[in-house]
C-alpha cells in the first residue's frame, strides 16, 4: 500500500517537494496529497452528510410544499417565505427572540465579567468558592430547567413559599404561568446555567494579563477604576467578543430550557424562533414552512459566523502579542 506510506518530506506541512525546477507531475502531487485526503475522509463524509446535505435539503424544502408521510414535494416558489412575512405573528416572534437573546447575552456577560473580577482577586480560599460557583454550568440543561421549574412553581415552589412566609403574599406570582413574568423567569434560569462558562472564559484571559502592568499603573498613581478601564478591559476585548458571539448563538439555539420550563407558553410569551421551527415541523407537520423559517435563521447565524471568525483571529493575535 504505497498510499499509506507516509514519507518525511510530506510531514510537518512543508511543501510536498522542495522547490522543484519543473512542476511535479499530477501523479506525484496526488501521491503527496493522498494520505491527507484518506485521513480526513471520515470527517468529510460526516460534513457532507450532516451539513452540506441538510443545507441543500432545507433550501429545497423551503420553496416546496411537503406532504407527509410520503415527503412528496410540490414547488411553490417563495410562498412559504411570503406566508411567514405576511403572518401577523411573525413580528412579535422576532421581538420575543430579540428580547430573549439580548436578555441572556447581557445577563450572562455582565454576571460573568463581574464574577471573573471577583474571583480573580488573590484572596485565600477564593479558589474553593470558585468551584462552587461553576456548579450550575456542569449540570445537564434538562436538570437545570427542571430545577427552576420546581423553584418557580406557583403553589409549592420555594420562591413563592418563601415570599409567603415573609408575609409578601402579593409578590408570590404565577411566574411561569403568566405572560408578563414568564420571559423574565426563563432568562434568569438560562443565565444561571451559563454565566459560569463566561466567567471561566474571561478568567482564563485575565490570568494572562501580566501583573507588571498593574504594578506600573499603581506606581503612576492609577486608581482601581482606571486600572480596570485602561488595562483590564482592553486586554479582555477579544475574549469578550468571542463570548458575545458564542452567547448569541447559544441564545438562538436554546431549546431545552424553554421547552421544559414553559413549552413556549403561556400564550406564546416565551416562544422564540427556534421553538417555532420545531413546532411548525413536528406539531403542525408543515415541513416546508419549518424549512423556510430555518433558512431565515440560518442566514442570521451565517452573519454571526463571519463575525466569529474575525473575533477568533483577533483573539489569537492578541494572545500572541501578550504571550
Amino acid at each position: 500500500m504505497s498510499l499509506l506510506q507516509a514519507s518525511p518530506g510530506r510531514l510537518g506541512g512543508r511543501p510536498a517537494e522542495a522547490p522543484a525546477r519543473h512542476k511535479p507531475s499530477w501523479r506525484a502531487r496526488w501521491n503527496a496529497w493522498a494520505p491527507g485526503y484518506l485521513l480526513v475522509l471520515p470527517a468529510v463524509l460526516l460534513i457532507a452528510l450532516m451539513m452540506v446535505y441538510p443545507v441543500v435539503q432545507t433550501v429545497y424544502f423551503s420553496v416546496n410544499k411537503v406532504q407527509l408521510p410520503s415527503f412528496r414535494t410540490t414547488f411553490v416558489g417563495l410562498d412559504n417565505f411570503a406566508r411567514i412575512l405576511s403572518n401577523p405573528d411573525t413580528w412579535p416572534l422576532v421581538q420575543r427572540t430579540l428580547i430573549w437573546v439580548v436578555g441572556i447575552v447581557v445577563c450572562r456577560i455582565a454576571l460573568g465579567l463581574a464574577a471573573a473580577m471577583v474571583f480573580n482577586a488573590r484572596v485565600p480560599g477564593i479558589v474553593w468558592l470558585r468551584v462552587l460557583v461553576i456548579l450550575p454550568w456542569t449540570i445537564p440543561s434538562v436538570v437545570g430547567a427542571n430545577l427552576w421549574r420546581w423553584i418557580f412553581q406557583t403553589d409549592s415552589g420555594v420562591l413563592n413559599q418563601t415570599l409567603r412566609s415573609w408575609g409578601l403574599e402579593s409578590w408570590a406570582l404565577n411566574w411561569l404561568g403568566h405572560p408578563d413574568t414568564a420571559m423574565m423567569a426563563v432568562i434568569i434560569a438560562y443565565t444561571w446555567a451559563g454565566y459560569p462558562f463566561v466567567m471561566l472564559l474571561i478568567l482564563a484571559r485575565m490570568q494572562g494579563i501580566p501583573q507588571e502592568l498593574y504594578e506600573a499603573a499603581r506606581i503612576d498613581g492609577a486608581n482601581a477604576w482606571q486600572q480596570f478601564r485602561y488595562i483590564t478591559l482592553p486586554s479582555l476585548k477579544a475574549v469578550l467578543l468571542v463570548a458575545l458571539i458564542l452567547e448569541i448563538v447559544s441564545g438562538l439555539n436554546s431549546f431545552d430550557t424553554l421547552v421544559i420550563m414553559t413549552g413556549g407558553g403561556p400564550a406564546k410569551a416565551t416562544q422564540i424562533w427556534g421553538l417555532e421551527i420545531y413546532k411548525t415541523a413536528f406539531t403542525a407537520f408543515n415541513l416546508g414552512g419549518a424549512s423556510a423559517l430555518s433558512v431565515l435563521m440560518f442566514i442570521a447565524v451565517l452573519v454571526m459566523f463571519v463575525f466569529y471568525g474575525a473575533a477568533n483571529k483577533a483573539a489569537q493575535r492578541q494572545r500572541k502579542e501578550v504571550a
Partner: protein, 299 residues
Amino acid sequence: MTVLDADGPGSPSMSAASRSRRRAWRTGFYRSGIVSLALVFVAFSVLPLAWGISTALKEKEAVYAFPPVWIPSPITFENFIAVFNNAALFQSFLNTLIIATCTTVIALVVGVLGAYGFSRYRFPGRDTLLWSLLFTKLFPRVVVIVPFFVTLRNLDMMNTYQGLILVYLMAIFPVAIWMLKGFFDNIPVEIEEAAVVDGCSLPQLLWLIVIPMSKPALAAVAMYSFIIAWNEFLFALVFTNGLSKRPLSVALAFFIDENGIRWGELMAASAVMSLPALIVFSIAQKALVRGLSEGAVKG
C-alpha cells in the same frame, strides 16, 4: 476604592507602625469585601442546587411543607430507591449510556484521523474543510432538525441507537477534530519523521507513536464528547418515540404521570443524571472551556 486610596503611601507624620497597621486593616477590608461579593455569586449558583438536593432527600409530605424547610428531617432515600426501581428510567439510563459511549468512541476515531490529516498534510481544499468544520460547531441544531428527520427516515434509522449516534456525532466531531488538531500541531514532527525513516507505515505511525503521545488530549476530547452526548436533548426528543430508545434527558423532561409531577423523585433522578457530568467537569474543566470557546485554534 478612592476613599482608601486617598491616604495612600507616605504621609510623613505617620509612624511606620501605624502605617503597617493601616495597611493590614486595608487588606482585611479588601479581603472581606471580595469574599462577601464572592459569597453572593456562590449563593446564586448553589442555592437552587441545594434546594433540589434537599427536595430529593425529603419525605413525600415534607416536599410541600410551608414554610419551606431547607434541611430535611428525617433524611430519606426513598426517592432514590424509587428511581432505581423504576424500570423505564433504568432503560433510559442504559440508552443514554450506550449512545454516549458509542458516540465518544466514534468521535475519537474520526477526530484522531481527521486532526492528524489536517495537522500534518497540506492538500487542496484543506482550509475550506477546516472552516466548514468550525462552522458546524456554530450550526444551530434547531435549523437542522427537519433535514436530519428526513435523512434518518430515508436511512430507516428513526428511533434507533445508530440514528441517534449519527446525529449526536454531528454536534461533537468538529470540536473533537479542532481540539486534537491543536494538540497535534504542538507535537514536534521529528519523532514521526524518524519513525518514517525506519519504515513505519501510516497506521503504525498513528497507533504506535501519535496516539500514545496524545493521551491527555484524547482524554479531554473523550470527556467532552461523553458529556455533550449525555446531556443532549433536542435530537433525542425529535428522533425517538416511545420508551425503548428514549434517553434519560427526554425521560426527565417529561417526568410526569397521572398524579402530576413527583418532585422528590424527579430531583433524585436529576441528581443521578448530573453525577457523571459533575465528575467529568471537575477533572477536565480547562480543556472543556477551551474546546467550547475556540476549538483550541492555532495557526
